[in-house]
């Protein structure tokens, strides 16, 4: 295992591109992603479907190779790792999938599901050690008493319990990073919070970093309050920074649009929220990404000749803590004058 020289991020994507082929088309799913995740950090990737957040997560855990660019693990390009180091690198990165019904083999018991990675990576000694470790893992994810769970099949468990099994499985190999891809979106609201709290406590106790992928900005805000939020749009990062800043003082017009569009579980707040009116309702196809800033055809702050001419880099904007990829904002042209605000809806 390569040692971790101080200051090196746990995992870093450098200029990562990824495209998928569809017939004769090459669809650029990710473009120029630069993102570093530190040890024990929480980063939320948010964006609408098709923006590339899952692809980014999959590249992080090496389930996908980038088409161009580099993935560094503690400062070492992952492609040069071989043998034992490579195995450790693979072990350090785990993913929890969205659908707890599809990601567990229905023909195996919980005990079996947890024992395979433990055996494969020789994480325990002997039958007793294996059993002890499985008990320990189930306790860690609050599936107690473990004796009641270990011989059950996935269909005998509720959605929330299955997702806990998925998390326990990810923990078998003592990872350093867990990518949770919409890990709670299929779980009922009433038990969602307990799963999130458990992920939090695992981070505190085991020191793992968590990349949390979600389309739900309110959930991202709650989960990553002490971490960072990265907003993606059509394959690019458009804004990244500390969560409280991004939520309270969003920079990029797309982030602003998202925040203004979200309904809130508070009747007065949600009915009197300022709504941003977009120039177009439709999200462009990934096969025809608009030139320049991909958001410009929908953006109410669009400056012709500037926004459609070149791709704005992610950079610091004065008055903001976070980095934002928006020319008018960074150049201090101000977005205020153009703000189109809808009359607040009339309350009940």
């Amino acid at each position: 295992m390569p040692d971790n020289p101080s200051g090196q991020p746990l995992i870093e994507l450098k200029g990562v591109y990824r495209s998928f082929r569809q017939g004769r088309l090459r669809i650029p799913v990710l473009q120029d992603i630069n993102l570093a995740v530190g040890e024990n950090e929480i980063v939320c990737l948010v964006g609408e479907s098709g923006c590339g957040k899952t692809t980014t997560g999959r590249i992080m855990v090496n389930l996908l190779e980038p088409s161009a660019g580099e993935v560094l693990f503690r400062g070492h390009p992952h492609s040069v790792l071989r043998g034992k180091e490579r195995a450790e690198y693979r072990r350090a990165l785990q993913i929890i999938h969205q659908d707890p019904f599809a990601s567990l083999n229905p023909a195996h018991t919980v005990g079996q599901i947890l024992s395979y990675p433990l055996k494969r990576h020789r994480m325990t000694k002997g039958r007793g050690g294996l059993r002890r470790r499985i008990w320990e893992l189930l306790t860690l994810v609050d599936l107690t008493p473990p004796g009641d769970i270990v011989n059950k099949y996935p269909h005998q468990l509720s959605g929330g319990q299955r997702q806990r099994v998925s998390i326990a499985r990810a923990l078998t190999v003592e990872p350093k990073l867990i990518v949770a891809d919409e890990a709670v979106s299929m779980v009922d609201v009433s038990i969602r919070v307990s799963l999130l709290k458990m992920l939090h406590s695992l981070r505190d106790r085991l020191g793992v970093a968590i990349v949390f992928i979600t389309h739900d900005l309110a959930l991202a805000k709650y989960f990553a309050w002490e971490g960072r939020i990265a907003v993606m749009y059509l394959g690019r990062l458009v804004e990244i920074g500390p969560t409280p800043e991004v939520i309270a003082n969003p920079g990029h017009p797309y982030t602003r649009a998202l925040i203004s569009a979200i309904p809130e579980a508070d009747p007065e707040v949600t009915r009197n929220k300022e709504r941003m009116i977009l120039r177009s309702e439709d999200i462009p196809s990934l096969t025809q990404v608009p030139p320049g800033c991909a958001f410009h055809p929908r953006c109410p702050f669009f400056v012709p000749g500037l926004c459609d001419a070149a791709v704005p880099p992610l950079e610091h904007a004065s008055g903001f803590v976070q980095d934002v990829a928006c020319f008018p904002l960074v150049q201090g042209l101000g977005l205020r004058e153009h703000v189109a605000v809808k009359e607040p809806a009339v309350g009940p």
Binding site: I191, V193, L278
Partner: protein
């Protein structure tokens, strides 16, 4: 809008629905009663399996074969003021009732449109089945509705479903749903599985349509924030029962049922700062052998001996706000500061 002064369009009285399963009868909906007034939007909130979709399928009598309405009345008042029990209608009358009087818009927009015919042919088929043979009139009305839901009317009218995006298809369904000018529109999770900006468009379009056409609606959603924004009245369902129903602000700011409070405390808000949330322990009960007393008691932190023994009746504690909870005063006392001190 002062809803209760409007006349009642739909009145459910003591409706119970069950499904036949291998292990026995599943009581999916039990003794649900509520009135839906003209121009009112009622949101049904609750977790998956609480019976909200079953209830609505029961109203338009589209339950699967294993399901049946065991008891109760579903009284519908026509525009002419005639009151009829939907459960007593013949299959033929029922076909007229659906869509023309009460339309249902389903969750998955792609599955609700026939993929091999153009949108316009679906429109004509629907109109014809309901005796509207004036094609030009139907076409004009449809184009007008498409404009109202912010679609390019000509293009969409002549398109196949696959040529439209998910958000557009959902708007096509909304427009199609109100084509025959129904008095009641049932919306089953109309914005689930769509993106945030698309969801916003759909919500705005829905408000416009509601305003322009004046229909009443029943909104099914597991998302409390959508209920907060769209509803006049909110009903919380748990294990097939309405456990609390009242004006939207009452329910959100002064909940009186422990389950409603639990749900509210489990949902993160964007506008608040760092938040303390909590989830409800346990999972929903088995509906074949539900727990005795209040069905929520095994998960309720405020449950007493009485809750375990006796089912609480739905009582009107404040005008327009009914709740089925013996400990409602306790819940109310906790609901003042839901963000700071979670009780559940």
């Amino acid at each position: 809008m002062s809803v209760p002064e409007q006349p009642i369009v739909l009145s459910l009285q003591d409706v119970s629905i069950s499904y036949l399963a291998h292990r026995g009868r599943v009581q999916a909906v039990s003794q649900v009663s509520f009135d839906l007034h003209q121009r009112e939007t009622l949101a049904l909130i609750g977790e998956s399996g609480c019976g909200k979709s079953t209830l609505n399928l029961g109203i338009i009598r589209l339950l699967p074969q294993t399901g049946r309405v065991d008891r109760g009345k579903i009284l519908y008042t026509t525009r002419e003021g005639q009151v009829m029990d939907v459960l007593g209608l013949s299959e033929r009358e029922m076909r007229q009732f659906r869509w023309a009087e009460c339309a249902m818009i389903f969750q998955a927009a792609l599955n609700s449109l026939n993929p091999v015919i153009r949108v316009r042919d679906m429109v004509y088929d629907t109109a014809q089945a309901h005796g509207r043979r004036d094609r030009a009139g139907v076409r004009n009305r449809m184009l007008d509705l498409f404009r109202k839901v912010r679609l390019d009317p000509e293009r969409v009218f002549n398109a196949y479903p696959h040529e439209l995006s998910g958000g557009m298809r959902q708007r096509v369904l909304l427009a199609l749903g109100v084509l025959l000018n129904p008095q009641v529109v049932i919306l089953d999770e109309p914005t689930t599985a769509v993106d945030i900006l698309t969801q916003r468009t759909i919500l705005e379009v829905l408000k416009d349509l509601r305003e322009a056409m004046g229909f009443s609606s029943i909104f099914i959603s597991h998302d409390l924030s959508i209920a907060a924004e769209m509803a006049d009245t909110v009903a919380t369902m748990y294990a097939g029962e309405i456990v609390e129903i009242g004006p939207v602000n009452e329910l959100f700011y002064r909940p009186r049922h422990a389950y409603t409070l639990g749900l509210l405390q489990a949902v993160p808000k964007l506008s608040a700062g760092a938040q303390e949330l909590s989830s409800i322990p346990g999972s929903p009960p088995d509906l074949i052998e539900p727990p005795p007393g209040c069905k929520f008691h095994p998960r309720c932190p405020l449950a007493t001996e009485r809750c375990r023994r006796e089912p609480p009746p739905l009582v009107e504690e404040v005008p327009g706000h009914r709740v089925a909870c013996f400990e409602s005063a306790q819940v109310l006392a906790h609901s003042g500061e839901p963000a700071e001190e979670p009780v559940i």
